[in-house]
Symmetry: D2
C-alpha cells in the first residue's frame, strides 16, 4: 500500500520483505535470520508469527529486526512453522496497527498473512464489504483478502483463498499460514519476487535469495507468477488456478531495491547493475580522470562504467557508516546538513580532476544537486553525472513508495533543466533501449511503468484511502 513516507537521499522505497519456513524445529529463529537478511526491504516495522501446530504465536513491533527480536522474544514463538515480514519506514506517528503479518481468528480459523505488493482495487472491495457489515481493523489493503475469505461461501481454506484472490487486482507476493500449513503465492503478473528454498527437510520461502544464503538453505527456484504453493505435512503442492497474463516483474528490483548478492527473476543483481554501468559507458563515453560512485548503491554500476571506459575507479565520496534512523538535526542551527551527514568528499582525490559520477536513479534531484556541489567544493574541475536507469517519470501503484507525479523531477522538467538544477557539466540517463538490452535476455518483459507510464494493471484514481482514528498504543 502507498504511504506518505519521506524519501531520504532521493530514492524510491521498497515496501516489504517476506520470509516463511515449514517443518523446521527452529522456525522462528530462521525467520528472524531471514528477515535480518531482508531488512533493506523495509525498516519501519517487523513481525513474526509461528505455529506450534495448535496455536499461532505473534510478535510485531515498530523497529529493526535485530532490535525487536531478542532471544527472550524469540522464545515466545515456538513451533516448526513461521512467517515474517519487514515493512518500510515512515516518519511521524507509528502505526503498529498496520504492522504485518496480519493475524485474525474466528469463523475461518486462525490465519496469518504477510504481503509484499499493493492491491489496486482494495478500497472498492472494502467499501462493498463494509456496506454488508464487515469491520476492518487496519488501513492495510491486505486485510480485504482476509475479509473476502471470511465471507466466501466456499468451505475449504484453499478454495476460500482462490475465491478471494479472484476478486483482487494488483501486485502481491503473499505468505499465509494456518496452524498446520504454509501458503506462498505470487500474483499472475509476478510483480514482486518470491523464491523457494530447501534446508534439510524444511521448505523455506523468501523475497530474495540472500535470505537463503544466511541460513544455509539451497535456492531451488522462483515461485512462478500466478502459482500457489500449498505446503503441509503431505508435502508441497502447486496450483495455478488463474488464466495466465503477461508477466511483468518489477525492473526496479534490479536497479535499486534488491540486494546485489540476490538472485531474482533469473539473474544476479550485482551483475545486472554492473551491466547497466557498462551500457552507460557505451552510451556516454567521456574523457575523464576518475570514476566515482555515489555510495553505496551506485558502486556496482560505477565499477561497470570504470571497467568499460578504462578510467580508474576512486572513492571520492566517503560514507559515514553510523548514519542511522535516529539522526536529529539540531533545530536551532542555522546550517542545513542534509547529505553531509551521510557523505564527505575526499579533497585529495578530487582536486583538479575531471570526474564521472555514477548513481542508480534520481527521484527529486535534491540529493544529486548537493552531491555535485560537494564534489565541486572538493576541487573537481568537470563533473559528468550518469544515471544507470532511465528518467523516473511515473508513480508506482504496485508496492513501491514513490512521490506523486508532480514531485518526480523528470516528469515536469527537461533533461537540460534538470542538469542546470543539479549544476553538473553533463547529465546522462541510461536509455530505455539500453535498460531493456541489459535485463531482457531470456525473459519476455518487465514492468517499466515508472519509466514509460504503461501500467500492466489498471488502478482507480479517485477513491480515497481508508482513515482510521489516530491510534497510539503503549504496552
Amino acid at each position: 500500500m502507498l504511504g506518505a513516507a519521506t524519501m531520504p537521499f532521493d530514492k524510491f522505497r521498497e515496501e516489504c520483505g517476506i520470509f516463511g519456513v515449514f517443518n523446521h524445529p527452529e522456525a522462528a529463529n530462521l525467520t528472524y535470520l531471514g528477515l535480518y537478511a531482508l531488512q533493506h526491504r523495509g525498516q519501519e516495522s517487523t513481525g513474526i508469527v509461528s505455529s506450534d501446530g495448535r496455536t499461532l504465536h505473534v510478535h510485531k513491533a515498530m523497529g529493526l529486526v535485530a532490535d525487536i527480536f531478542t532471544e527472550e522474544v524469540l522464545k515466545t514463538l515456538p513451533g516448526s512453522i513461521a512467517i515474517g515480514h519487514v515493512r518500510y519506514s515512515t516518519t511521524g506517528s507509528s502505526q503498529l496497527i498496520n504492522a504485518q503479518p496480519f493475524v485474525v481468528s474466528g469463523g475461518i480459523g486462525n490465519i496469518a498473512i504477510a504481503h509484499n505488493g499493493n492491491l489496486t482495487n482494495a478500497m472498492e472491495i472494502r467499501q462493498e464489504l463494509e456496506s454488508y457489515g464487515s469491520i476492518f481493523q487496519s488501513t492495510m489493503d491486505t486485510e480485504v483478502i482476509i475479509h473476502l475469505m471470511a465471507v466466501s461461501r466456499e468451505r475449504i481454506f484453499l478454495d476460500r483463498l482462490i475465491d478471494a484472490l479472484a476478486r483482487v487486482k494488483g501486485a502481491y507476493s503473499l505468505l499465509l499460514m494456518k496452524e498446520d500449513a504454509l501458503v506462498a503465492l505470487r500474483d499472475p503478473h509476478g510483480f514482486r519476487p518470491l523464491s523457494l528454498g530447501r534446508l534439510d527437510g524444511a521448505t523455506v520461502v523468501a523475497s530474495e535469495s540472500c535470505a537463503f544464503d544466511l541460513i544455509g538453505a539451497t535456492f531451488e527456484r522462483e515461485i512462478e507468477p500466478g502459482e500457489i504453493l500449498y505446503v503441509d505435512k503431505e508435502g508441497v503442492k502447486s496450483f495455478k488456478p488463474f488464466d495466465p497474463v503477461p508477466q511483468t516483474p518489477c525492473v526496479f528490483e534490479y536497479i535499486y531495491f534488491a540486494r546485489p548478492d540476490s538472485l531474482i527473476f533469473g539473474k544476479n543483481v550485482y551483475e545486472v547493475r554492473k551491466g547497466l554501468g557498462r551500457q552507460l559507458a557505451r552510451e556516454f563515453p567521456r574523457e575523464a580522470d576518475i570514476v566515482i560512485p555515489v555510495p553505496d548503491s551506485g558502486m556496482p554500476a560505477a565499477i561497470g562504467y570504470a571497467q568499460e571506459a578504462g578510467i580508474p575507479l576512486e572513492l571520492g565520496l566517503i560514507r559515514n557508516h553510523y548514519v542511522g534512523r535516529t539522526f536529529i538535526e539540531p533545530k536551532q542551527s542555522i546550517r542545513h546538513f542534509g547529505v553531509k551527514i551521510k557523505l564527505n568528499p575526499v579533497r585529495e582525490i578530487l582536486k583538479g580532476k575531471r570526474v564521472v559520477v555514477i548513481d542508480d536513479s534520481i527521484v527529486r534531484a535534491t540529493t544529486g544537486r548537493k552531491i555535485i556541489k560537494m564534489l565541486r567544493s572538493g576541487g573537481a574541475t568537470e563533473i559528468h553525472f550518469f544515471i544507470s536507469s532511465p528518467p523516473t517519470r511515473f508513480p508506482c501503484f504496485y508496492g513501491i513508495d514513490t512521490p506523486t507525479k508532480s514531485e518526480l523531477i523528470a516528469n515536469s522538467h527537461t533533461l537540460e533543466e534538470i542538469r542546470k538544477y543539479i549544476t553538473c557539466d553533463t547529465l546522462g540517463y541510461l536509455s530505455m533501449e539500453g535498460l531493456r538490452k541489459v535485463v531482457d535476455g531470456g525473459r519476455a518483459s518487465y514492468c517499466y511503468a515508472c519509466f514509460d507510464g504503461r501500467y500492466p494493471v489498471e488502478f482507480p484514481v479517485d477513491i480515497p484511502e481508508p482513515q482510521m482514528p489516530l491510534f497510539y498504543n503503549i504496552s
Copy 2:
C-alpha cells in the same frame, strides 16, 4: 467478561469503570480526572477516546491512569467530547488488544464504546456472526454489540444500537461515542451503576459519583435501568425502548466495590457499610476489649460495629501504604510473605486482648487465615471474626471477577469448617435478612446471586470463551 485474574487478598474484583463528557473544552482532561477517581474499579488497562467533531483520537495502554495519561498524551486527545475506561488487573501477559474503549471505523462510521458489565450470550452471537463472515478483533464480549450494529439493516445510528441491544443479554452500563454525540445507557436490570452529572454547560456521566466530586461537577441523577441517554448539540434525549424487567442492581457494589464517598443506587456507600457493621453487632454481640478493622475496606463496618457494640475501635493491623502492583517476592527465599507485605500487627495493642475483627467479605479464606494467625502471634487471647456480608457461594456472570464455584470456600464448606480453617474463636457472617434490611430501604430489590444463586438473567454453561492467538505488542 470473565478472566483468570488472580485474587490478591481474597476479594472479588470489580471489572470496569467508565466516564464520559459532552461539550467541555477540556473533555480529555476531565475524563482523565474522572478515571483517576474511578481507578479502584480497574487497574489493568485504561483508555480515553476524544472527538474534535471530525476525528476520534485514541490512547489506550496497560497500567494506571496517572502513569499513562501524561500531559503529552493528553495533548493528543483534543476536542469537547470524550469517553474513558479503566479495566481490572490480571497478572501474566498483557492484553492491550482487550483494552477499552473499543474503537472501530468503517461502514457504520467511527464509533468508540466503553463497557462495564458482562454479556451472557456474547459467544452465541459471536459464533453466529462469524459464520456469516464477521471478523472479530478481540475476545471482548463488548465487540459483539459493534458487529451487531454493523450488520443491522437499520440506517440511523440509534436504531442500529437498539437493534443490537435487543439481541444481547446480561449486564451492561455502556458509553458510546461518535464524532458528534455521546450515548450512555444501562441494561434493563440495572446491574451496574451509572450516573449523570452537570459541569457548567457540560454533560458528564460516570460509574460513581465520586468522579463528579473531583471535577467539581454536580450529581444530577442515576441513569435508569433500561434508559438510553443520547447527548448531542440538540441536548440530552432519553429513550426507553425495551420492556421493563425487575431491577436488580448489584449489592456487592455496596459491600466492597464502590468507593465509600460515592452515592450509588440512591445511598451513600460509607453509610451502607457502617449500617452493615451495626447490623453485624446486633447479630453477633460479643464481650470483647477492642474492635479492629481489616484495613482499609473493613473500616466503615468496624466503625459501625464498634459504635453499636460500645467497644473501642483500635488500629491493630497497620497497612503498608507503599504496597503496589510490583512487589516481587524473592523466589529463592524459603519464607512466604503473603499478607505480611501488606499488613503488620501492633503487638502493644493486641497483647492480652479479646478482639473483634471486621472484614467485608471472604472468598477463599486464605487471607483471613493469615490475618488471624498474625493477630494471635501479636498476643490476642480471643479472636471473633465477623464478616459484613453473607457467605459468597456462587460465581458472578454479570461483570465481576469471581473464582469458580468450587474455589469459593463457603460453597463447599460448613461455617464450622471455615472457622476451623481460619482458626478464629468465632466466625460470623451477616445474615441475608440483615443485609436486605440495611440495603432495601425504599428499593424493590438487588441482585444477590453471589449469595443465594438466584441469577436474574440466564447464562450459557458450555460455550467456550473465544481464543485469540497470543499477542505481544511493543511500540
Copy 3:
C-alpha cells in the same frame, strides 16, 4: 543534608531509612524486604550494596524499592552481608549521584556507607579537605566521613572510623560495610533511631522495628546513642569511644515520621499518637457530633481524641488510595485540584454536623485551609481543628526536610491569624507540656528544636551548600 524538596500535603519529610544484615545467605533479599518496610522514610532513591566476601556489589536507582529491585536485579547482589538505603523524594531533576549507599574503593579498601541524619559541620570539613586535594564525588554530607577516613593516619579500619567521627557533628545513624564486616552506629545524641535484631544466626539492623516484623526477625534492642556495633565473623562487638552527651532523640519520629507499628525510643508509635490524641481531648474538650481524622496520618490521634471525648469517630474524608507520585495536573485546566486529588468529603456524614478534625501537624497550613473548605462545602456547621503537636516554628538541621523559618506559618503568625487563614471555628495545637507528658515517661529528654528552637547541636549559618555540575545519567 537539606534540599529544596516540595512538601506535598504540608508535612515535614523524613530524610532516610537504613537497613543492614550480616551472615544470612539471602542478605540482599532481606535488605530489599527491610527497605520495603521502611519505604515511608524516603521515596526518591534506593540502593543496596552486598558483599560475597570478596567484592562489593552495588545497585542504586531513583524510584521506589519495589520498582527498582526486580528479581533480576536482586540476583546481581550475591553474598551474606548487605546494607540498603531509602531517600526522600524531591521533584525536579533526579540526582542519582546522591543516592546511597555511597561506595568507594581504593587506599582504604572498598567501603559502603548508608546515612540517616545530617552533619552540621560537613561543609566546613569539606572545604578544608578540598584545599589539601581531596576530590568529592557528590554533594552529600555523608561523603566527608569517607574522606576523613581516607586521610586518617590510623591504620585499622575501626580506628579510622572513630578518627573521622570525632571530627563530625550533628545527627547520624550510620551503616558501614566492608567485604567482611558490618558496622552500625548512632551519634552521641541519638537523634535518629536504629535498632538491632536477630534472624536465626543473622544480625540485622534497621531504622525501625517494623522492618524486623516483615522478615520475621526478633527485635533485640535499640543501638544506644554514641554506640558503635562492629559485626564480623568473630561476633558483635560494642564500642563507646566518645564522651557521653545528653540524649535528644527526635520527637517528630513519634508525631509523624515513624510507622505506627514500629517500636522506637522505647515506645510503640501508634500508642504514643493515640496518647497525643487523648491529651488533645483533655486540652480541648468540645461539644461536637463527630470526630474525623485527616487520613491517614491523623487516624491514631483521632481515635484517641474520640475515645477520650466520648464522641463518635467517623470517616468524613475518604482518601483515594491510588494517589501516587505521578499525578499530573492538566496544565491548561482553569481549576486547581490540590488536596481534592487525595481526599473527598462524605456529604452524608458531614451534613449539619459539628465536627472535630484531627491532624498531626501543620507546616504551611495550605492543606488545612483546603480541608476545612472541603468539610464546610460538605455541610459541616462547626469545625474544630486540633493538631496533635505544638506549632512547628523552627527548621530542623538534623536530617529532616523542613521549609525555611519564614515559610513555617507558626513562626510568623499568631494562633488567631492562622485560624482565620484556615477558616476553622477553633484551632488548637497540643501544648509543649502535653507533648512532654505523653512522650517523656521514663526518658530523659528529646529534641524539640522544631517547636522551641533549642538546638542540641550548633550549626553554621552562612556556609553555602556544595554545587555539582548538572548531571544527567542515562543508562
Copy 4:
C-alpha cells in the same frame, strides 16, 4: 586504558575520539555533530560537557551519539564552550562510571576532561595518591591527571596541569574545560591525532579533520606533539613546557582506525591506504582474474592493488548494511553464523575465478579463515590473500584495544602456519619496508610497536588494574 573488549571481525579497536569548541553559540550542537563524525573511534559510550560561563552541564550515557543526544538532551547543554567524547564498545556489563568527559568540582574548581590514549604509569601514581588519602571515582587512567592537579601546590590552573602532566607517561590527546576556558594538548610523542580548526570566530579541535568537514569548519593545523593550547576570551595561546622527544604518531591510525576522508599526521588517509595497496601489488604480483576487497575497510587498498596490478576490481563479498550492535545469535541454534551475518559472497562473480582478496590487517585470523571458506564455497578456484600491513605481533599500550600477545596469531605462528589455518593458496603481508616507504615521506618516524615491539615509552608489566565494585545505575 586497556579492557577486555571483544574484537568482532578480528580488528584492533580504537579507544576514543574527542571534540571541543570554544566561543560558538551552539557549542553543544556542534560537539554533537563532531562526535557523530568521530563515531567510528568509539561506540560504547558518549558524553558532552558544556559551559554557559558559570556552570558546567553534563550528559553522559552508554550508546551511540545519535541515539543519546536527542534534541531534548541537547537543550540541557547550554553555553558557548563544549567538549565531547566517544569511547569504544565493550560487551557485558555497562560501565557508565567510566564514560567521559570526566567531571569534578571542588577545591580546584569545576573541570571536565576528555582523553584519547593511555597512561602507562597511571596505576603507580594512583596507588601513591591513594596512600595519601585520595579517593578515586572510576577505573580510568585519566582520573590520575585530575587528582595530580588537585594535590598540586601550584595555584594557577595551567601550572597545576603542567605539574600533573610532568608526572604521567604514555599516550594522551587531551581536552580540558573550565567554565571559561578550553585546553587542548597532545603528549610529547604525539601518539594520537588532534587537530585545530576554525568556524567563523570559533575555535574547534577534533581527533580527525572529518569532524571539521561536517560542521563546515576549516582545518587549520594539527596540534603539535607536546603542545598545550590554552583557549579563553583572550585568544589562543600555545605552550610547549616539556623537553622535546622523538615523535611517534600511531601508524595504525593510517592502516585502519581513522576515517578515509580524514587528514591526519599530514596525509589523507584514503590516499595512504591506496598507496599501501599499490605497494602490496608491487610486493605480491599475481596472475588473477579479479581483485576483491574485504568490505568496507579493505576497499581503498583493494583499489590501489587493482590499479597497480591491472586486474579488475569486483565486489565479490556483499556487506549487510543493517549489521548493528544488537545482533543476537539464537542460542539454541546448531549453526554458528559469525561472519555470514555481515558478509555474503556473490557466486556469479566468484565462480571459476582466480581471486586476489585484500584486507587491511589480521589479528586472530578467525574471520579471515571464514571469509576464505566463503569465497571457496562461492566457486573461487584460487585465493590469494594479501594484507596491507605487516604482521601484528605485539600488544599496544598507548590507547588501542589489542588482545594479549599470545592471542595475536602472528606472534606465535609462522606465515605458513597462518596460511594453512586460513586455507588460502597464498598469504602475503606488506613488508615493514613497504609500510615505511608509503607512510614515511617527509616525517621522521611513527610508532610501529605493534609490528616490531619497539615501544617508544616504557610501561609496567606487573601492576594490576584498579577494580571497582560492580556498578549498575538505573535512572
